[in-house]
């Protein structure tokens, strides 16, 4: 049975439900339930991968890497949809122009969006990989434009154009890699596994060229500096649940694509170029993002820049070829960042502003949010005992062991600046004696999902142990290399 079909049933059903406007009243709850049901399904489908098996059928391959990112995506989607069951109806009351159709369209689009993101780590075929990512891009564009304000339109346009151009480069790269295998007979293949298998007789020049273009394309999607410019706009203007999905899942998908390609490069003995490109890219991204975090005026933009920073860290992890840390850090980052975006959604809704200067006294007015935001801030900045600390620490260790001393120094500096900056900005919003929220909401209820995610990341920090690391390296190992 095709794993992809199995896990795509429920999202598809949600997407279909979204086509009928009269479901608007109960669709949010339905979506939440559907994705809570999706969790065990995905768990069941991915189970074999944890025992080392990898199911391949019809161009799809459920290997370790695929399983890991499928699970992450599912977690993110579940959290986002559960929270959107609270956020969207509340937000809808404020927006008179919101019709049932538009409201339900959200669910259709996010259903397909999530499907596309499922496809990314599972497809074997580079071409379909590209198509999946492009599809995710196209589906998320209207989601970003959910509010249809001037700003969100602008953000959508920038997102659409920049990402499409990037993706076009990625396509070009893919084609070149396809062309690079003229040498061996029996026509070309686009299957990653086969490419890895006979990577030896790929034309190195064309392969390098292709990888460069793919890096440019998928890097744009992941938000590697200086290709990140669309990212803050999109993340800050999209509804918070969408920002959560973009940051928690889509970012990972782009990086998974880069990981797949890096495997081919490694197999083809181009590891030198891989290092030469990815490590500096990651380090520079981290430090640039941290510098940009110093001056922030908008809660969600701040979170967006921190996503850029983590994209840099993940790129570094890929660059030093350590798949397990790539998975681990992606997991931790997704948990925490999603939690923060969902919290931000609640805050923005209740206080009616994203501006840090106008927020304030959250801890006093709505203690649950205040504590959760502060904890999330520390978590995303990589303070122990949260999972991010452990994964960043292991990443630094391996990078140092790999001899990338300069990169490590840069990253440590970047992380330091980031923590100070994020905590300062969070402090502006959380501490002090601010004004009461404009709309009062059931804070406890709204904090539930983020709190669960934060606790998960806390556990992830505590639970990293040799067995777990073995499982991780097995998952990554099946992804090839590392």
């Amino acid at each position: 049975m095709n794993p992809f079909l199995l896990i795509s049933v429920l999202p598809l059903s949600m997407a279909c439900l979204g086509l009928f406007p009269y479901t608007a009243r109960w669709l949010p709850r339905a979506g939440a339930i559907i994705f809570l049901l999706q969790l065990p399904v995905v768990g069941w489908v991915c189970l074999p991968a944890f025992s080392g098996a990898s199911i391949a059928c019809g161009g799809f391959l459920m290997d370790g890497m695929g399983a890991a990112f499928t699970i992450i995506t599912t977690l993110v989607a579940a959290a986002a949809l559960v929270q959107s069951a609270l956020l969207l109806p509340a937000a809808r009351l404020e927006d008179s122009k919101m019709t049932d159709r538009r409201f339900c369209l959200f669910y259709t689009l996010s259903g397909i969006f999530i499907l596309a993101m499922y496809a990314v780590p599972l497809v074997q075929h580079l071409g379909y990989l590209w198509i999946a990512i492009e599809a995710a891009t196209l589906m998320s564009a209207p989601l970003i434009n959910y509010h249809r304000s001037r700003n969100s339109l602008e953000a959508t346009w920038k997102y659409l154009l920049l990402c499409s151009v990037g993706i076009a480069f990625a396509l070009f790269g893919t084609v070149i890699i396809f062309a690079a295998q003229y040498a061996f007979t029996g026509g070309g293949t686009m299957m990653v596994s086969e490419l890895v298998a006979h990577a030896a007789n790929l034309d190195p020049r064309l392969l390098r060229l292709g990888f460069v273009f793919c890096l440019l394309g998928y890097g744009t999607k992941a938000g590697i500096f200086p290709l990140h410019n669309w990212l803050p706009d999109a993340y800050s203007e999209a509804p918070s649940v969408v920002s959560a999905m973009l940051s928690g899942a889509l970012l990972n998908s782009a990086l998974v694509a880069i990981w797949r390609l890096s495997q081919i490069m490694v197999a083809a003995g181009q590891i030198g170029l891989l290092r030469q490109l990815l490590v500096p890219a990651g380090a520079i991204t981290v430090i640039a993002a941290s510098i940009m975090l110093v001056r922030q005026h908008d809660l969600k933009r701040m979170l967006a820049y921190s996503s850029v920073e983590h994209a840099g860290l993940l790129t570094l992890a890929i660059g030093i070829g350590s798949g397990k840390i790539f998975i681990l850090h992606a997991f931790n980052h997704s948990l925490v960042k999603v939690a923060l975006f969902l919290l931000a959604g609640g805050v923005v809704h209740a206080y009616g502003t994203k501006a840090l200067s106008r927020l304030g006294g959250i801890l006093k007015r709505t203690p649950a949010w205040g504590i959760a935001l502060m904890a999330g801030g520390f978590a995303i900045a990589g303070s122990p005992p949260f999972g991010t600390f452990i994964s960043e620490w292991l990443l630094l260790r391996d990078a140092f062991a790999a001899g990338e001393v300069v990169a490590v120094a840069a990253v440590v500096i970047g992380l330091t600046i980031t923590l100070i900056a994020i905590t300062t900005h969070m402090g502006r919003a959380v501490f002090g004696n601010g004004h009461a929220p404009a709309r009062n909401v059931a804070v406890r209820t709204w904090t539930l999902t983020p709190a669960v995610l934060l606790v998960l990341s806390l556990l992830a920090g505590v639970a990293i142990s040799p067995p777990v690391m073995q499982v991780l390296s097995m998952l990554a190992g099946q992804g090839g290399g590392s």
């Binding site: 669309w230 110093v294 001056r295 062991a401």
Partner: protein, 599 residues
């Protein structure tokens, strides 16, 4: 001892408890207990602004994490405990977050401690790279390769310890926290950095870096002087005490420096003396500094005043607090027979031995010079605490609040008397303490050296003192039975009664010394006289003093400002909002990648 061997990836959740750890655990307990006794009573007067539950949780977390820091056996677990310690203390500093300055203090504190952690991280990674292990006891790095990681780690620790020039956060953050927390932070938390220094640099040969001894000595000397000098200028009691923490950290570092020099030149006695002085002074400082902070807290709680210029005359209203505070002051001024003297005497002996056996003339002379330097610091400390005690507790009250003060609650009094008693006991029983220290220093060599180095019969002197004072007291009592003393006003030169304004202010008291060292912080006094016919009958005469801490104004502030400005410019230029610009970035990136990848 390994609790959960599966923790933290590859390092393990392992503890190592040896005499050194026990010593610092004892310090945590000894200084933590009074703070915990003090807290309930004290927090009552903050309960409107502070969420008590949060404070308690953070307080307990702080205690636990400090214990974790001194027991951690490997670098990663250590870092975790270290960060938890920093975060919980950050939470405590922000406890009173509705006040702007405590928010500011919290941010500064966080920045400083995080910068320190960054140094530590790189240093530890480096050490791991060199040794392939996270476990401290398996580290053995020497030669030129050891210098860089050692200096990085030292920088990180110095930041936490508040050693010059990394001390700036300390006098800002410590006063902002509630008094019991200040007591813990100043008394114990900064000592954890000392612990790691001893563990890594002094006690075992984890890092063999000859350069470190002189560095510690010099930085310690500067910190001690700097701290006490700035303490002399303060008006906020807690701030004054915080600066004294910088001073005492300096003294402790000097002890460590002596010890390292002793190792470098193979003088085992010197090695032990320095270490013993440092450890002993660490304990002493933990006790009297927490005592003093608790005293300041009691004054704050009972008068709601922290500006000492508004206080005075509390000796009649808060006798217990006064007694404890005076004891603590005497101890921190290293007056015999209290504990402060015992440890500083050891340090003096260390300097003297260095002056005797030092291999080079420069070293010998330097050691003699340091003896004088220490004396200077001690004298400055005395001046500072005479000022503090005199202005806060003695004389006439300078404000109505000070007049209306009443003694603190029983718990708070007990919490102050306890360390006061310990100050005396540790001084009198110094040989016993040395016995305990011998268990630590024995790792450096024969501990009997240390016992023999302790010659002065402090106990005897204490006894003599007590007897003589008692005898005199009895004699005076006998005399006063025949003609009792009478009470009368303080002599006012016949100009009507003395108001509080006629007393010396703290500023006035410190002025002569401040003027002498004015060059260090451009000390200025400007006096202006108002009114017609100002020469003879001025309406109003005002004198204002001002000083400038160059390190802040000339180094740190400009640095941070420029960083912020550059960051702003960077962001605005890069993220200018024009999609064409972004496309051009993409094209440039394409060119760059093309160049790297293809050529």
């Amino acid at each position: 001892m390994s609790l959960f061997p599966w923790f933290l990836g590859d390092a393990g959740f392992t503890f190592a408890v040896d005499p050194l750890s026990c010593w610092f655990l004892a310090i945590i307990g000894v200084a933590g207990l009074p703070a915990l006794i003090f807290a309930p009573g004290y927090l009552q007067h903050l309960r409107h602004r502070v969420s008590l539950s949060l404070v308690w949780v953070a307080l307990i977390l702080l205690m636990i994490s400090m214990a974790g820091v001194v027991m951690a056996a490997n670098a990663i677990l250590f870092l975790v405990a270290w960060e938890v310690m920093a975060l919980s203390s950050f939470a405590l500093v922000t406890a009173d977050h509705e006040r702007r300055d405590s928010r500011r203090a919290a941010i500064i504190y966080l920045g400083a401690t995080r910068a320190g952690t960054a140094f530590l991280m790189i240093g530890f990674l480096w050490a791991h790279h060199l040794t392939g292990s996270w476990v401290f006891s398996e580290w053995g790095i020497s030669g030129t390769g050891a210098l860089a990681p050692a200096l990085l780690i030292f920088a990180g620790l110095a930041t936490k310890a508040g050693c010059w020039p990394f001390h700036l956060w300390l006098p800002i953050a410590h006063p902002a926290a509630p008094a019991p927390v200040s007591a813990l932070m100043s008394g114990v938390m900064i000592k954890t950095a000392i612990y790691v220094m001893i563990r890594l640099f002094v006690l075992d040969n984890h890092f063999v870096v000859p350069l470190l001894g002189p560095i510690l000595l010099v930085l310690g000397a500067i910190s001690a002087f700097w701290g006490v000098l700035f303490a002399l200028l303060q008006h906020d009691l807690k701030r004054l005490l915080a600066y004294h923490s910088v001073e005492n950290i300096g003294i402790i570092l000097m002890g460590l420096g002596v010890s390292l020099l002793g190792r470098q030149h193979h003088l085992p006695l010197l090695e032990q003396l320095g270490l013993a002085a440092a450890l002993f002074h660490t304990l002493n400082h933990a006790i009297f500094k927490s005592l003093l902070f608790l005293g300041a807290g009691a004054v704050d709680a009972c008068t709601h005043l922290r500006d000492i210029e508004k206080l005075g005359g509390l000796v009649h209203r808060m006798p217990w607090t006064t007694g404890a505070f005076v004891t603590g002051s005497a101890a921190i001024c290293a007056l015999p027979p209290l504990n402060g003297f015992a440890s500083e005497w050891l340090l003096y002996q260390g300097f003297f031995k260095l002056a005797m056996d030092g291999p080079s003339v420069g070293l010998r002379f330097g050691a003699l010079l340091l003896m004088g330097w220490l004396a200077l610091i001690g004298a400055l400390a005395i001046a500072c605490f005479v000022k503090a005690v005199g202005v806060v507790f003695l004389g006439n009250p300078r404000s109505r609040r000070a007049e209306r003060a009443t003694e603190a609650g029983r718990g708070m009094v007990v919490a102050q008397v306890l360390p006061a008693v310990m100050c005396i006991a540790l001084g009198v029983a110094a040989p016993a303490v040395l016995g305990q220290l011998g268990r630590i220093t024995s790792r450096l060599g024969d501990p009997s050296l240390l016992y023999h180095a302790w010659t002065i019969p402090l106990t005897l002197i204490a006894l003599l003192l007590a007897c003589t004072v008692g005898g005199l007291a009895m004699w005076v009592a006998a005399l006063s039975r025949s003609l009792p003393a009478r009470r009368f006003i303080t002599w006012e030169c016949g100009f009507g009664d003395l108001g509080p304004r006629t007393q010396y202010t703290a500023t006035g008291f410190a002025q002569p010394i401040s003027r002498i060292f004015g060059a260090v912080y451009s000390y200025t006094v400007d006096i202006n006289v108002k009114g017609r016919n100002r020469r003879y009958f001025p309406d109003k005469v005002t004198a204002e003093t001002a000083h400038e801490a160059y390190l802040e104004t000339k180094v740190y502030t400009p640095l941070l400002q420029s960083i912020k400005r550059m960051a702003g410019i960077f962001l605005m230029r890069l993220q200018a909002g024009s999609i064409h610009q972004y496309l051009i970035y993409m094209a440039l990136m394409l060119g760059l990648l093309f160049w790297v990848g293809v050529s």
